[in-house]
């Protein structure tokens, strides 16, 4: 899974009537939004050919699980899907499926944006009680970045510990780093080669924009991110069963990998994975791009102190407020571009409180300073909780999560 810039790609604008300069650009390595309010997600659904997560789907999730939908669903943070209804059918029929998500371990410490798919995945796992596999694409990061294999493996282990700190259940979760797992599981390698046989250079060129001067490692990598979508990748969990469907929660920029995967699936007689797509987490500086851990001022890191969090929000969080208090009281703030408000949408669980903040900020009753203060409190609390948990995560525990083994499910 990629989250940082490494190459410039030519946007394939599917919406030809659109002015080219106004088209958002989204692929696994680059997100460039054309407007200050961020990417136009409705348009992205059109271009990618996925389906919007509508109130009907959210209602059905609540109905079949008997649980409140996660606020990421209700607030449009997970906004798009592919075949989620099929997954709900399976759940109703008490048939198995599993969850797959992942991360490209690029930076020593993860940032708040990196947490989004994992927070949601944890909720899905607890709600549906299914196995979860988490892929750390250390091989991808080695291929795309100027980093040694040893270093990327070290960073991956640190990231795994960050992820575990969110509270995943070791009895139901398998985390793996490609550099290790491919060398541990012949079935996984076989599946990768099967996928590689069914995808041409032309296809990855069209999907990912690869060119002739790209290394052959990059060109064949998409098969490695595709492979965990199929249960044969995990013989220790699924006992070689070929037909256990997969649900992938991920940010929308990862969808190209899984469009490719869904194309290949019927040709290798395996089920297409279903998907749930999230919006991007904005940088502190504004919603026109994703956060990047390589610019520590653009994001809240999981290692930030309460003071660092306070200072970063106060100093960098793009404000939708007016220039002066008087003007703000009069005209009100703009929640659509205000990063503090956007972050609260992600992290403030209390929906009523969030709505009140929205109304008061929009009306001008709530000032930017107070809005930021709300956010600082919320972030400090979440980060402190993760840091507390993180202290208890030993290398040994991380390695246990990464040991191929049977999980608490029978197949």
């Amino acid at each position: 899974m990629a989250d940082e810039n490494s190459k410039k790609l030519v946007s394939v604008a599917l919406n030809h009537e659109e002015n080219e300069n106004k088209e958002d650009f989204v692929d696994p390595w680059n997100v460039q939004s054309a407007s200050a309010t961020g990417v136009d997600y409705a348009k992205l659904i059109d271009r990618f050919g996925s389906s919007a997560i509508d109130s009907e789907l959210i209602d059905r999730i609540e109905k079949v699980t008997g649980k409140q939908a996660h606020h990421f669903l209700k607030r449009g943070i997970f906004f798009s899907h592919r075949e989620m209804h099929k997954i709900l059918d399976l759940y109703e029929q008490k048939k198995p499926f599993y969850l797959y998500t992942g991360r490209g371990p690029s930076s020593e410490s993860m940032h708040m944006g990196h947490l989004i798919p994992f927070i949601f995945t944890k909720w899905l796992q607890e709600t549906f009680d299914v196995p979860l596999v988490i892929q750390m694409t250390d091989d991808e990061k080695y291929l795309w970045k100027d980093i040694s294999i040893d270093e990327v493996q070290r960073v991956a282990l640190e990231n795994v510990k960050d992820i575990i700190s969110l509270g995943f259940d070791i009895d139901k979760t398998f985390i793996f780093c490609d550099f290790n797992y491919i060398g541990q599981c012949p079935d996984f390698y076989k599946l990768i080669v099967q996928i590689q046989k069914h995808v041409t250079f032309n296809q990855v060129k069209g999907i990912f924009g690869f060119g002739e001067s790209d290394c052959i490692g990059k060109i064949s990598f998409p098969a490695i991110q595709a492979a965990p979508s199929f249960s044969t990748a995990f013989p220790h969990i699924f006992k070689g069963k070929r037909n256990i469907p997969c649900l992938i929660p991920c940010a929308i920029d990862q969808d190209p990998y899984f469009r490719m995967t869904r194309d290949v699936a019927p040709r290798i007689n395996l089920p297409k994975p279903a998907l749930l797509h999230s919006v991007f987490f904005p940088a502190l500086q504004g919603a026109t791009s994703k956060m990047s851990a390589s610019d520590p001022n653009s994001c809240i890191l999981l290692t930030d102190t309460p003071n660092q969090i306070k200072n970063k929000v106060n100093k960098y969080a793009f404000s939708g407020g007016q220039a002066t208090v008087e003007e703000h009281r009069e005209k009100g703030g703009n929640c659509d571009v205000d990063v503090s408000y956007q972050y609260l949408k992600f992290f403030l669980e209390d929906g009523e409180k969030l709505e009140k903040i929205r109304q008061d900020y929009t009306s001008g009753k709530l000032l930017t300073g107070h809005l930021k203060k709300e956010l600082i409190t919320v972030l400090q609390l979440i980060v402190a909780e993760i840091q507390e948990k993180r202290k208890t995560i030993t290398d040994e525990l991380a390695r246990e999560f990464m040991t191929p083994r049977k999980l608490k499910f029978d197949y």
Copy 2:
């Protein structure tokens, strides 16, 4: 390692003064000779940029080892090399190196042509007393042919048993199939990705003629054949030592893989492999192409009965003799195109006898029927011996050869 046609490539004729139609074509999947006497090997040395194995090198091999050079060397069957003198330097200095060869397991039974690199490798191993690794590229065959993974793995095991029948020493030889070994050895996978990071699509396009409609598995495969050239691929043998050089005996059509490997080596701080190249083994029908196991009438299979051998040689072996006995007595035969004589060059160890046959056939004293009879006797003997040994090779023994383990050498 590939030995069968699967795609047509455009010959990159390096010798521009040459008439295009007269240029031999040689790559890992196709060998097309422009003349009835077969490929022009001197020209190939020029084009590939390797060095001829001359009498000076052969003398030096005999001098440093104190042993007679193999008749494959004396008769020009192994005719080209890269840096063999460096390997002899190491041997003189009692420094370690190892041997690497391989095979693409494409057909149930191997044919006599497949034996050439293995017969010579066995002699090298016995002469220099060094470890040998043998790669079975079952993944390559799956990618290039219309065959299932299960089937290619089954065929690979049969081929491994054929190879073991030549008498390799289990204490000094590690045989591995990619589909298993890559899933057993994280260090091997890491090395493959390292190589894949340092080779572009443009490079494999230039070297192997890959195109945009080729699958990404083919495009990234060359790294997998390159990887065993480096001792880090075998931590169980070399304990992670990075600097143990490799000598690769192979047919000249495999050289493109190792030119690429030698290009990459300095960029990943590993030693370039040395090479010894053989000529192609001609089809029964003539020296203009390689034998192919997919046409049983073009080759002597290791499973052929004495009668089948006799019939195939009598019926199909292209003759350099004249149309009638009288004409033959008068004008003599042409050893350069006579397949029976060519085969005797490979398999009749007695050099004096071979020379007498050559003289008598050339003068017309020896008739084609008698020449064929000599060959039939030689082939029947060799094949019977291998078949006898083959009966004793159990699946279990083959799996022992294929178990990653320490060999009888200390590093």
